[in-house]
Structures are given as structure tokens and as C-alpha cells.
């Protein structure tokens, strides 16, 4: 399978609008997690929510012609930034729009007084409104596979390009922090007491976050500096609905399949892990890295900065990691202090500069799904 190029990448998060701005904040050690109250939790919890002041800027940035939800505005702001970077015509019937989300406009359930038609809680209706605002002529496709949605959106775009079903794909992922999703993680006892601590021995669960991230994928590079996706696959544990396989079966299978698709089973220079901060996920991931011969490869989780952004997580973390690869930096795993027995390897704890060629992005989610992809620099 030939390579697919990431010809542009963008994002917005509680740290601000724009990938460059977010990356500077990450390097400066800023986290988007703040304590807040939720109707779905008995005690105050940490979330990475986008401030009202940022949301207030969106209308000015996108000038929508129909009423839009917060999530849709986040997507359109990100899309406009992608379009500004790159010669991509949404009206071209060879170009498609892929939207990735776990819960979409779920906040509409809580709003009785809104100008937004209730039907927009359907992901396909919401995606269609966004696609029309952007000028796409093709019907959009939504990927919703829990916490692996963002990685799978990229994989879907890549496969559709490879199959010749489209020439370029705009892939954008977004999810919100809502009482709806908080209640799920909180009642499953998977919400962290305090800040999340991915891979730490005292980790107690997730902090939820909201963000939007996107890429434009193309079969041809737009510049010699474009990164390329050289491998990717998904798998299922076929084991349990809410707990990952203790033997790390599905993720190990996905990683090994992904590595086998590279030339001479190339090893990545770093791994951008899922690292949610739950006991089972992080132990499972650590075991999968070991079983896949990646024990010595530096890795980190970005959840200590952005929280767990659900369906957006995989795309957000790919975009941030791609920037890290371009800048030859390995990012610190915020929240980690001490290794426990069930985590075999320690994540990176400091910003490290090192010449690098490629990285592996992994994700795992409810329903037993796993997905990973490998990103590489173009030879200079």
C-alpha cells in the first residue's frame, strides 16, 4: 500500500485556537485541566473544558449562515484553518469530509430552548450541515467507534484514497465535555479522583476533555515536508464491553499488524499512547508494547494536558505528535510520577530533543476496539 500524506493539520482546545499555539503551550508545560462541578458527579472533578470566551469568538471566525451547535462551530473553525493552509476545494466531488465523534451534539438533549432542530443530535444530520457550510458536494461520513474514532477516521480516509474512491479527505474529530459523558465514566468508577495520572502507580481514572482536531489527507504530498501515514489497522479484543483484554490481545495484534506493514518491520522513534489513566487501560497498553517488542521505545500520554477527549483523542494526539515529530521532540507524559508493578515501562517525563523519523499512535476503547497508525517523515 502506498503512503498517504498529511498535507495540513489543525486543532483547537482549552489551550487555545491553532496547532502552533497549542504546541507552544504544551512545550511551556500548560495543562487545560481545571476543577469544576458537574451534576453527574458527587464531588468536584477535573475536566479540560473550553472557556466561554473562546466559544464567543467562533461566530466571528466562521460567519455561519444557519444556527450551529458549539461542537459544529468547533469543527468549522478547525476546518477553516485547514482550508487556509492548503489548496483543497471542498466542492470538488473527488474530495470528501469525514467527521469523527463519540457523542456528537449530545448536549442538545439538555437544551429545551434552542434554535437548533432536534434532528441534529443524529450524527449524519449534523455532519451534513457542517459539510454544506464548508461547500462539500459529497455526503459526509461519520466514524463513531468510541475512543478509537479519531484514529479510525484517519484510517478510513487513507483507505478510501488508496482505493481511488476519493482524492483527498478532510478528517475532523470533536467531542464535548457534558454531564452525559461524565455520568458514564463516573458511574463506571472510571473517573479520576483529582488529576488523571496516566501510567502512574496511583492512577484512579480519566479526566474528560473537549477539543477539535483535523487533518487533510492526500495521495500526493503538497510540500516536501509533509508527513506520511505508512501503516495502520484496527482490531477488536472480542473479550469484554468495558474492560480491555488483560492479555492485551487486541492492541498487540493491531500494533504487530501495523509494524508488519512497514518496510523491514521498522520500529517507531516514539509511541503516542492512549494512556487514559484508568488502571486496566494503562496496564494493558504497557503489556502490549512489551509483547510487540517496543519496550525500549519512549512513549507518552497527552491526557494529562487535554484530558480524555473521547472520539477526538486519537486525531488530536496524532496531530500533536506529528508536530512533535516535525520538531524532533518527545513530549512529557504529564501526571506521571511513579511506576507501579502493573506498568512495565515508564513514560517520558521531560521534553527531549532527538532526531527522529517516525512515531506510532495507538488507541483503545469501549467495546474492545483498538486502532493504531504509523506516521513517518518524507525523506529529505
Amino acid at each position: 500500500m502506498s503512503a498517504t500524506y498529511i498535507t495540513s493539520a489543525e486543532m483547537l482546545s482549552p489551550l487555545g485556537i491553532g496547532l502552533d499555539h497549542n504546541f507552544q503551550q504544551i512545550k511551556a508545560g500548560v495543562s487545560g485541566l481545571k476543577e469544576q462541578k458537574s451534576a453527574a458527579a458527587r464531588t468536584p472533578i477535573f475536566c479540560a473544558a473550553i472557556a466561554e470566551e473562546q466559544v464567543a469568538e467562533y461566530d466571528h471566525l466562521i460567519q455561519p449562515t444557519v444556527p450551529l451547535t458549539k461542537l459544529e462551530k468547533m469543527v468549522l473553525v478547525t476546518a477553516k484553518r485547514l482550508l487556509a493552509q492548503h489548496n483543497f476545494d471542498p466542492r470538488d466531488p473527488k474530495n470528501i469530509f469525514i467527521f469523527c465523534t463519540t457523542k456528537g451534539n449530545i448536549d442538545l438533549l439538555f437544551e429545551s430552548d434552542t434554535l437548533i432542530p432536534k434532528g441534529r443530535i443524529l450524527f449524519s444530520d449534523s455532519a451534513q450541515v457542517m459539510a454544506r457550510q464548508l461547500g462539500f458536494t459529497n455526503l459526509p461520513i461519520v466514524v463513531s467507534n468510541a475512543c478509537i474514532s479519531g484514529v479510525e477516521g484517519i484510517l478510513l480516509g487513507r483507505q478510501l484514497i488508496q482505493a481511488g474512491l476519493c482524492q483527498q479527505a478532510m478528517v475532523i474529530a470533536a467531542d464535548l465535555v457534558t454531564d452525559f459523558t461524565i455520568s458514564g465514566f463516573y458511574s463506571l468508577k472510571a473517573y479520576a479522583k483529582g488529576l488523571c495520572r496516566p501510567f502512574d502507580k496511583d492512577r484512579t481514572g480519566v479526566n474528560l476533555g473537549e477539543c477539535c482536531a483535523g487533518v487533510i489527507l492526500s495521495g500526493k504530498p503538497a510540500s516536501s515536508k509533509d508527513l506520511k501515514i505508512i501503516a495502520g489497522t484496527s482490531s477488536n479484543d472480542a473479550n469484554h464491553m468495558t474492560a480491555p483484554s488483560r492479555e492485551a490481545r487486541g492492541l498487540s495484534q493491531a500494533i504487530q499488524h501495523c509494524l508488519s506493514q512497514t518496510e523491514e518491520d521498522q520500529l517507531p522513534d516514539f509511541i503516542s499512547a492512549h494512556g487514559t489513566g484508568t488502571r486496566y487501560n494503562d496496564a494493558m497498553e504497557s503489556l502490549a508494547f512489551q509483547q510487540s517488542g517496543l519496550g525500549e521505545i519512549p512513549f507518552f500520554s497527552l491526557k494529562g494536558i487535554f484530558g480524555h477527549t473521547l472520539g477526538a483523542a486519537g486525531l488530536l494526539e496524532t496531530v500533536v505528535s506529528a508536530e512533535a515529530l516535525k520538531q524532533n521532540t518527545i513530549l512529557p507524559s504529564i501526571g506521571f510520577e511513579n511506576a507501579g508493578e502493573d506498568v512495565k515501562y515508564q513514560p517520558a517525563t521531560q521534553l527531549v530533543w532527538s532526531p527522529m523519523k517516525s512515531f506510532l499512535k495507538t488507541a483503545s476503547g469501549f467495546g474492545g476496539g483498538n486502532a493504531c497508525l504509523m506516521v513517518e517523515k518524507s525523506p529529505s
Partner: protein, 207 residues
């Protein structure tokens, strides 16, 4: 061998043959009656939401119990328009309208439209590529094209593909197809036929 199953309110059809029909007056308990018809012991069925029950029943007649394809080379690709909307509303009412945050952690899982992927993978030991898509193109064409590509690029040997929607007790539909590598040569024709049977059905809505 390719095999398909279509479920509509009160009927289950397998490869064009009527497999099960709810008796008059029993439409409300269609899912339970259909489960009994298959005569299996799978207690987890009763914990699933309607959307997952619909998917579970749709796969039962067509996924072979013994198959040559390895679990890691078997995939599942599903698409829907409704997604989990029915369960989302139910969960919202039970948790927030009733102010009961510990209502049911298990039910939260079913507010993920992709929960059906997990249920199917567990039941049929499917470990390969798994996708849940939502779109307004009410036919199997995209799934067919994507499955073909995954057979080619990811070396799948078998794949379960399907469309499913669940809105209310009398508004739901599924159309599942089991495809093996040897079926690829005829897949376009098979899909054209299934699209005709299934999506000319009156309730199809394309916005």
C-alpha cells in the same frame, strides 16, 4: 458463502426466505420472541439495548459457527443513521430527568452506537478490522466499497457488513451480509439485489 439477513418490524428474512414472523399482537415483544425462536442460551442478550439486540439477531443466521477465516482476519463494518439515539434518550431520562446518576453504568455503554461492534465481536470471536459509520446514504454501497478495500489491503478473509437503524418499537430496520473472500467476485451484484430489497422499503429516509 455470502448470506444475508433482513429484519423489519415483525419479520426476519434470511436469504430471501421468511425465517420468523411475530404473531399478531406480539409485535411489542418481537425481540424477545425472535430470541426464543433461535433457541440459544445467551443471557447477555437481555442486558443489551434494542439497537444491539437488533444487530445481534441480524448476525445470528448468517455468521457461520465454524469458519475457515481466522478471527484476526475477520472484520465487521456497520453503518446507521439513527445510531444510539433511542438509548441516548432513554439514558438521559433515567439519569438526568430522574436525577439518578448511578442509574446504570452498563446502560451508558449502549449510548455508544459502536457498542454493537463489541457485542458481535464477543459473540462471534471477530478480532479484525471493526468500524461503525453513520451517514445519510441509505444503502450498502459505501460498506461494500470499504469492505473490498479491506479484503485487498488488510488481507481480510471474511467480513460482516450491515446497515441498521432503531427509532421506536415499530420503526427499525437492519440488513446484514456475511461475505467471504470467494464472494468478492459477485459482491457488486449481491449488493445491488439487497439494496433493491431492503432500501426501497417505505420507511427509508434520506435527508
Amino acid at each position: 458463502m455470502a448470506s444475508y439477513c433482513i429484519i423489519q418490524p415483525s419479520t426476519i428474512r434470511h436469504n430471501g426466505q421468511l425465517l420468523f414472523e411475530a404473531r399478531v399482537g406480539e409485535e411489542q415483544s418481537f425481540f424477545l420472541e425472535a430470541y426464543r425462536y433461535f433457541d440459544i442460551n445467551y443471557p447477555k442478550f437481555h442486558k443489551m439495548d434494542r439497537f444491539c439486540q437488533l444487530g445481534f439477531l441480524s448476525a445470528l443466521p448468517i455468521v457461520p459457527e465454524k469458519r475457515l477465516a481466522a478471527p484476526s482476519k475477520t472484520g465487521v463494518l456497520l453503518a446507521s443513521k439513527s445510531g444510539s439515539i433511542h438509548t441516548d434518550q432513554h439514558y438521559y431520562e433515567k439519569v438526568f430527568a430522574a436525577d439518578n446518576i448511578f442509574y446504570s453504568p452498563a446502560q451508558f455503554t449502549y449510548t455508544l452506537p459502536s457498542a454493537i461492534l463489541g457485542e458481535l465481536c464477543i459473540k462471534h470471536n471477530i478480532q479484525g478490522e471493526n468500524y461503525f459509520l453513520l451517514h445519510g446514504m441509505q444503502n450498502l454501497d459505501l460498506l461494500k466499497d470499504y469492505a473490498k478495500q479491506l479484503f485487498h489491503s488488510q488481507q481480510l478473509d471474511a467480513c460482516l457488513i450491515g446497515w441498521m437503524d432503531y427509532y421506536t418499537t415499530d420503526h427499525f430496520q437492519s440488513c446484514y451480509l456475511w461475505v467471504e473472500r470467494e464472494d468478492l467476485i459477485n459482491l457488486d451484484t449481491i449488493i445491488i439485489n439487497i439494496n433493491k430489497i431492503c432500501f426501497d422499503y417505505g420507511k427509508a429516509t434520506v435527508s
